[in-house]
């Protein structure tokens, strides 16, 4: 997932379990979308236990990113086009 690694991202949460990161999104962001594993965010297929919550805050997209050795990170990335695409998804 070199694409994510090259993005200008902010780490919102680290060393969390996947479930903790999902709960964090639902508690913290007024808007989020539930997606299935494999759903594409940017050029990455997100993984996780369904449903996977993707947070939205203006032009920012907040999504989980899991690595086998480092667990789940919650990343916050500003991208107007991708945010608009996700905002347009049905709740």
């Amino acid at each position: 997932m070199g694409c994510v690694e090259s993005m200008n991202y902010e780490i919102v949460l680290r060393d969390a379990t996947f479930k903790e990161s999902r709960e964090y999104i639902k508690k913290t962001y007024a808007e989020f979308r539930d997606v299935e594993p494999g759903f594409k965010v940017f050029d990455t297929h997100v993984i996780g236990l369904p449903p996977i919550a993707i947070g939205l805050e203006g032009d920012f997209v907040i999504f989980p990113f899991t690595k086998p050795c480092h667990g789940t990170f919650l990343l916050r990335v500003e991208d107007k086009e991708e945010a608009a695409r996700l905002w347009a998804l049905k709740k």
Binding site: M1, T17, F18, K19, E36, P37, G38, H45, I47, G48, L49, P50, T66, K67, P68, C69, H70, G71, T72
Partner: protein, 161 residues
């Protein structure tokens, strides 16, 4: 000729994907090679998917490829299964941390394979409790010594299922 997970004869050999976790727990590499050996003896074609370190540990341990077949990057495997370009009859996910649970849940959702969660490590009991998706759980407290986990795998005999 192989058998599908439903037991029906197929013209294609049966296939299995081994999803490796972080290789920081030593038993993973040993059990992966053992499982590959047992699968191959049952005419099941194994493919390994892991990160670079986990894959390299296997490739270096089996330089003449007596056991290993195809080895691929884990992210690539997720993409191919998600995009329906490829799937497997069985999927074994190695789990010793929360990321492993996340990958197993993902495989359970995106793949038609029969998923086996192979859970080990110091905190294996806590991880077993987190399994809330369809899969067969194979679990033992195994960190350095692979024998407790091998014993449970032999009892389940997933190559024969």
């Amino acid at each position: 000729m192989g058998r599908s997970v439903t037991g029906e004869p197929t013209t294609q050999p049966a296939t299995a994907l081994l999803v490796l976790g972080c290789p920081q727990v030593p038993v993973q590499t040993s059990i992966a090679l053992y499982l590959i050996s047992r699968l191959k003896k049952s005419d099941i074609v194994p493919t390994v998917a892991g990160n670079k370190a986990a894959n390299t540990l296997l490739v270096v341990a089996d330089p003449d490829r007596h056991y290993l077949g195809e080895v691929m990057d884990l992210d690539r495997a997720v993409v191919m299964i998600t995009e329906k370009k490829r799937d497997f009859d069985r999927c074994f996910v190695f789990i010793h941390n929360d990321a492993g649970i996340t990958y197993a849940g993902t495989m359970s959702a995106i793949s038609k394979a029969k998923v086996y969660a192979i859970i080990y490590g110091e905190h294996y009991e806590d991880l077993v409790k987190q399994i809330d998706f369809p899969c067969i759980t194979i679990a033992a407290k195994a960190v350095h010594n692979p024998l407790p986990l091998k014993k449970v795998i032999d009892e389940v005999a997933p190559w024969a299922a």
